[in-house]
């Protein structure tokens, strides 16, 4: 295999896996605590899969082999087993440590993501610094699934990556993993146009940090800001007081634009019944911004 062949192989591998699964928000929304809009969409998906069992000794043996097609098949079977493939995690981790082809490495990362064991995190570390940004994104996405003691630190490092996509994946992952210690970095990232940081801040902000985010309204586009607001507004009242949610709605209302009205109407349609006070504010804001210009 030549280096040119490898370049093409990487491209093919990523297409085969479907890059959509690497999109930070989408990928994380599947397994992390989803935003309400995403949750509404997910409710249409049939729940649960039938458990798949795997022959651990046989698959482990195949994963140790040097026949690429056999390794790929074994990984395919492991991936289909989901968490049922947990016993195979050490063999898959070992495969990554030994080094393998782009396609197989991609599959191996996907298997570890399905298994989601913190013990796998260490084997991901070299891939977080791989020269291919696609590999780095995949490794970060896998890390978000496995968690582990170093996960937050490595995700924070990802915010400083030279690739925008990797930075976005890291920012989203920090929200998913509730990396509150990264709050400062997330704000810096947001100020550096890592817009995915807004949603993560919304997921984990304290009252003070949430206010800091709200203060950035006008600095960033409404789409960026509402990705964070949505997260805050739908957090339980025990975490975020209704008064703070009302201030956010009022801040959006103050914008008085068509886009603001559109967002508020969408919010109104999704708002649960257990927060009548906030609901009332949303209703008034929708009325107040009706007929606004863009």
């Amino acid at each position: 295999m030549t280096t040119g062949d490898l370049r093409r192989a990487w491209q093919t591998a990523w297409v085969a896996l479907g890059l959509a699964c690497l999109a930070p928000r989408g990928a994380l929304a599947d397994d992390g605590k989803p935003a309400p809009a995403a949750a509404a969409k997910k409710s249409a998906v049939p729940a649960g899969k039938a458990p798949v069992t795997v022959n651990v000794p046989a698959l482990t043996e195949r994963l140790k082999g040097s026949d690429g097609s056999e390794v790929e098949k074994a990984l395919g079977e492991a991936k289909a087993a989901g968490k049922g493939a947990s016993p195979l995690a050490p063999a898959v981790e070992d495969l990554l440590r030994r080094g393998t082809t782009p396609a197989i490495a991609t599959l191996a990362l996907a298997v570890l993501a399905e298994i989601g064991s913190p013990a796998s995190a260490a084997s991901l570390q070299p891939y977080l610094h791989h020269r291919s940004p696609e590999v780095r994104k995949r490794a970060l996405a896998t890390l978000v699934k496995t968690g582990g003691p170093s996960a937050i630190g490595w995700l924070r490092e990802g915010l400083s990556d030279s690739d925008a996509g990797v930075r976005g994946t890291a920012a989203s992952g920090l929200g998913t993993l509730k990396g509150r210690e990264a709050m400062g970095d997330l704000f810096i990232a947001l100020d550096h146009q890592v817009t995915e940081a807004a949603a993560s801040i919304g997921q984990i902000c304290t009252a003070e940090a949430c206010d800091k985010l709200v203060a950035k309204t006008g600095t960033f586009g409404l789409d960026v800001m509402t990705s964070g607001f949505d997260q805050i507004l739908f957090r339980p009242s025990a975490e975020i007081a209704d008064d703070q949610k009302i201030r956010i709605v009022e801040r959006v209302r103050e914008l008085g634009t068509q886009e603001a009205n559109k967002y508020l109407r969408d919010l109104q349609s999704r708002w649960p019944t257990n927060s009548p006070k906030v609901k009332g504010t949303i209703d008034q804001a929708v009325l107040a911004t009706a007929g606004s210009r863009s």
Partner: protein, 580 residues
Amino acid sequence: MKLAAFVVPMALAVSCGGGQTRLNGLFSTDWQDDGGARARAVQTKILAIPIPKGTPVAVGVVDTGLVGIALSSGKSWSFAHALDARPRNAGKVVVGTGGGELFALDAATGQPLWTKKAAGALRGAGDDGRTTVVSLASAGEGSIILAVAHDGTVLRQLEASPAIGIPAVVGDYAFFPWQGQYVTIYNIATGAEEARLLFREQVSRAFTHGGKLYFGELGLFRYDDQTWRASTQKASHVSLPARDLPGDPKWFLPGGEVRGAASDARDDIGLFGAPASTSELAVDSGRFVATYFKVAIGFDAKSGSLAWATKHDADFVAGSPFEGGVALCDEGGKITIVSTTTGAVLSEKNLGRKVKGCAVEADGLSPVHSTDSTTKSLAEQIPVAIDLNENEMVAIQRVLLRELGKAEDPQATKALIDLASDPRTPPPLIVDAEAALATRRNGADFMIAALGRHYDFLKDVLKPPPVGPLADALLAMKESRAAPALVAHLFDPADTTDAIKRAAAALAQIATKAELAQLRSFFALYRSTADDDSLAQAVVSAAQAIVRLGGPEDKALVAHGAEDPMTISAIKPQLFALTK
């Protein structure tokens, strides 16, 4: 060549008090070299005449005429007059032409000494404090030459067909350079040619400095008891060492040219060196100064090596050397007196306004000797002079950077690293800085510290350090201390694959067992995924380090890599060779 014409009285329509002279073979090319006999015969008389130093003055061309400042007293003056050529400071006078007039001013006060109606623009002038000689360009390549007493009496008035360069006068003797090789010694009192000097090197100006008379263009000849031997190349002579400088600056511009009143591109670059008052002709202080727009650089007058460098806040457009220093005039009208030895600014004067052109004469200034003991090292001076905020100075920046590369000072290594890492550095300078860094053999600590820096988006570190050149240099210095920093760069995706290749090549020889685990990881990560030839070569280098540092199991690891079908085929033979 056509003989020079007779005097044309119309050249000076008024005030021609006398001395209109037939040329009688003056400037004739039929002249036969007499081996310097006549020049030798007259030299004792001429050398006995004391030559006063000139009035140190800077003159600026402004819309209304001239502004001047006496450099010793600081007294300013102005003179309203049309100008069609650059004014000339000579001896005690400032001479100019414009509006059909030739005029001379007292250099110290700006007071007019005399004004004559005259056709032709000023080429040059000489003055000995009593008499002023002037060369004007007439129609075609011809010249009008005048000798005028300070009281305005025209002593001699000649029209000659060759272009007469910048003349000088000492007592009754005028010196007219012409045709690039001759200097005619002309007796103003008798109207006769006393002698002719024949030089074997381009000569187009005569001038006095420090009480002595000189001729020059490419180099400098002193008028002394050896000058009569000029035709046999035995006259006292000095030249500046060749330096590859942008714009190809000259010590002296051709004296036969008329310079426009306003500065042009040739004024933005220059070389300044004064003759020393030593028995053997040499350059004062052993230094000469080059200017390139805002930059001034001091060079050793013998070796041409860089002695100092400094950057000014405005473009230099004129200058004049004197004993121990050089007076540099900038477009803002500021005159900066700089030590030739150290580049230190010794004093400043100001013409008070921006100037379109400038002329300086510093001969009469008192000698200066820099006593600045806080002069910074070249490694500190050069980066300041390079000044990356200047984006149109690449040509001189490259010269300075090359000099930085030669400096045997670890600080120079640091400066090169900073230049190579600075996002403002223009690409041609980065190439030069990296090339210079790769050949450095000192400053390892700075190199290792630089390698500790990585791309960091959140901290706005958007340019990695020059890993490749640093790796080359550290390898050449066998600096094992650099191995931890180098191995970290193998995993930095912001580095180029060329940088990684060079880092790995260095690690192949200087890595220690402490880096073994990371080398194994790199080998595993890329032996089957390297999609670039440089990266593939880095894998081989990593394997080399693993085999050198590791045990049998490590050799087996590489051997397995050599046999594994998943390993890229291009590197298998090299891996196999390592395991033999």
